[in-house]
Amino acid sequence: MENKNLKDEQFRIVGCDDVEGERLGRPQTTYWKDAWRRLRQNHLAMFAMVLLLVIIFLTIFGPAISGYSYEKMSADMNQTPSLKHWFGTDSLGRDLFARVWAGGRVSIIIGVVGAVITTVIGCIYGSISAFAGGRTDSVMMRIVEIISSIPYLIVVILLSLMLDDSGIGSILLALCIVGWCPTARLVRGQILQLANAEYVTAAKTLGVSNWKIITRHMLPNTMSVVIVNLTFRIPGYIFSESFLSYVGLGIKTPDTSWGMLAAGAQGSMFFYPYQLLFPALMIGLTMLSFTLFGDGLRDALDPKLRR
């Protein structure tokens, strides 16, 4: 330190200024803002989101863009994709571009609505069970346990047969009747865990009102888990619907869905592979995008991964 040319005036005590000491190095943001920032940095998740928006846009406007009706038959049977029919036509001469997006409507509506309904039911059931506690809780959980002991698809198959009218509504009902169980368990577990968390105890000790504890601590912490769960369930329902339609127990003609289109094309796969390609591709892309987006959302919402 001797060789530095230090002046005398640099050696007078000025003390610390408190403001600078208290200031934290990084800007503070809210939880949701921070999550959004992290999500935006995840290119894969953002790409999946854009892809999903495009797919949803096309399921809404696709049939109109094509200029054909998805159920109108014509003499152009089994046409390969061309400028006239972008995705080709099927064995009855129906335009596949229109059919794929019309089918997508059904698939996506079932996926999204199914996931939302089961999540809502699961949340309500799970939180009632968690808050009630004691006997009510154990009875409610036993019920869930028994319902989830039945292989999922078997229930769905039986129910979809029972409801028989094979519209979107009855398939949704069949999927939802058993689908809420895992969510109920998840929500109950999360709430019980949070209720015992030290910061909740601390908040209670400090006299924070129950309402505020629920809105400030319970809700945001449960919400993130539930939202991520929701995102992962959507592709599950899309798959279940396509499965049901594929084995002939789901949507029936004249309605259509991706699963049905794929099943219909299965037989002539060796001759007209494109008929299978497009619906299969759409199912795959949609499920992939939801999964990727869910992954990104999970990473973004999990504060433990915050860096």
């Binding site: 230090l6 640099q10 050696f11 000025v14 610390c16 408190d18 000491g21 990084r26 860096r307």
Partner: protein, 339 residues
């Protein structure tokens, strides 16, 4: 040469999404054989990272020990050890006790096996024999009924017991140096005293050198031979216990000492240091403590102070030691008086 451990210019940086966290910024120190060195500082000052760096425990993390760092242990250049030699080095030369006994034991393995693992690897004996030897080790750390306890799983033991298991594991292969990273922080006060007594006792019986990492100056007072005070990844003052408690010269050390509750001084308000440590992401210009220092001078914000050697063992990095700096009285409560 006689020094057991010699660390020169140790730098450990962590690469994170937010940028490079410069956790340890050029630390040099040494430990003699059989000596107890205490590393003191508040949370996040780099003391744990320094301790872990001695065994190069960053291989799989985002942490990186910069190549200019030099660690010599008992004549061995730790930085140049290859993988195999490093594995042989860990456990046999240096043992480590971790902060939280609740999380530092594998929940799915019986404690006997966990203690025995060390013997199994380094002495090449079968697991069965290793578990038998673990019984002796458990007896050494004063666990009652060790024959039964080796079969227990961590969740069946109390925090104090678990920490004893961790100590037994660390000492299994008779390391020459034991690093205790906040060994009592997660324990009750009464258990803390027991564990410290045990450590002191073992130190005397086995002659192991100890590096005690802690933020609690209170437990250092009757345990350590030498103390080094760290702040924001750097050592700011180092000296024998006497020198630190009675003749310390760094304003940060003063602040630390003044914030220990003194006996019989209950009415007086406890001193508390204002502000927070600097962000380790940022480059440090000037003295790291400048922003919180009551005696801060313009120069402190410009240049980093070098060490001033006060005695053979006592050194301090502060501009107040400069010949041009005004003389400052050590504040009341910061050592110098009866102790």
């Amino acid at each position: 040469m006689s020094r057991l451990l010699e660390v020169e210019n140790l730098r450990v940086y962590f690469n994170t999404y937010a940028g490079q966290v410069k956790a340890v910024r050029g630390v040099s120190f040494g430990v003699e054989k059989g000596e107890t060195l205490a590393m003191v500082g508040e949370s996040g000052c780099g003391k744990s990272v320094t301790a872990k760096a001695l065994m190069r425990l960053f291989e799989r993390t985002s942490g990186e020990i910069l190549p200019e760092s030099k660690i010599t242990f008992d004549g061995v250049d730790v930085m140049s050890l290859d993988k195999k030699a490093l594995h042989a080095f860990r456990g046999t030369q240096i043992g480590m006790i971790f902060q939280d006994p609740m999380t530092s034991l594998d929940p799915t393995m019986s404690v006997g096996k966990q203690v025995g693992e060390c013997l199994m690897i380094h002495e090449g004996i079968p697991m069965k024999e290793a578990v038998q030897r673990a019984v002796e080790l458990l007896r050494m750390v004063e666990i009652p009924n060790p024959e039964e306890r080796v079969k227990a799983y961590p969740h069946q033991l109390s925090g104090g017991m678990r920490q004893r298991i961790v100590i037994a594991t660390a000492l299994a292969c008779h390391p020459k140096l034991l690093i205790a990273d906040e060994p009592t922080t997660a324990l009750d006060v009464t258990i803390q005293a027991q564990v410290l007594d045990l450590l002191r006792d073992l130190k005397e019986r086995l002659g192991t050198a100890i590096i005690l990492v802690t933020h609690d100056l209170g437990i250092v007072a009757d345990f350590a031979d030498r103390i080094q005070v760290m702040y924001a990844g750097m050592i700011v003052e180092e000296g024998t216990k006497q020198e630190i408690f009675k003749e310390c010269d760094h304003p940060y050390t003063w602040a630390l000492l003044r914030s220990i509750p003194a006996e019989g001084a209950s009415k007086k308000q406890l001193y508390s240091l204002k502000g927070t440590p600097p962000d380790l992401l940022l480059d440090q210009k000037g003295c790291p403590f400048a922003s919180r220092c009551e005696y801060c001078m313009p120069v402190c914000r410009e240049y980093q102070p070098d060490f001033t050697q006060k005695s053979g063992t006592h050194r301090v990095a502060c501009w107040l030691q400069h010949e041009k700096a005004p003389r400052v009285e050590r504040p009341v409560g910061a050592g110098g008086e009866i102790r």
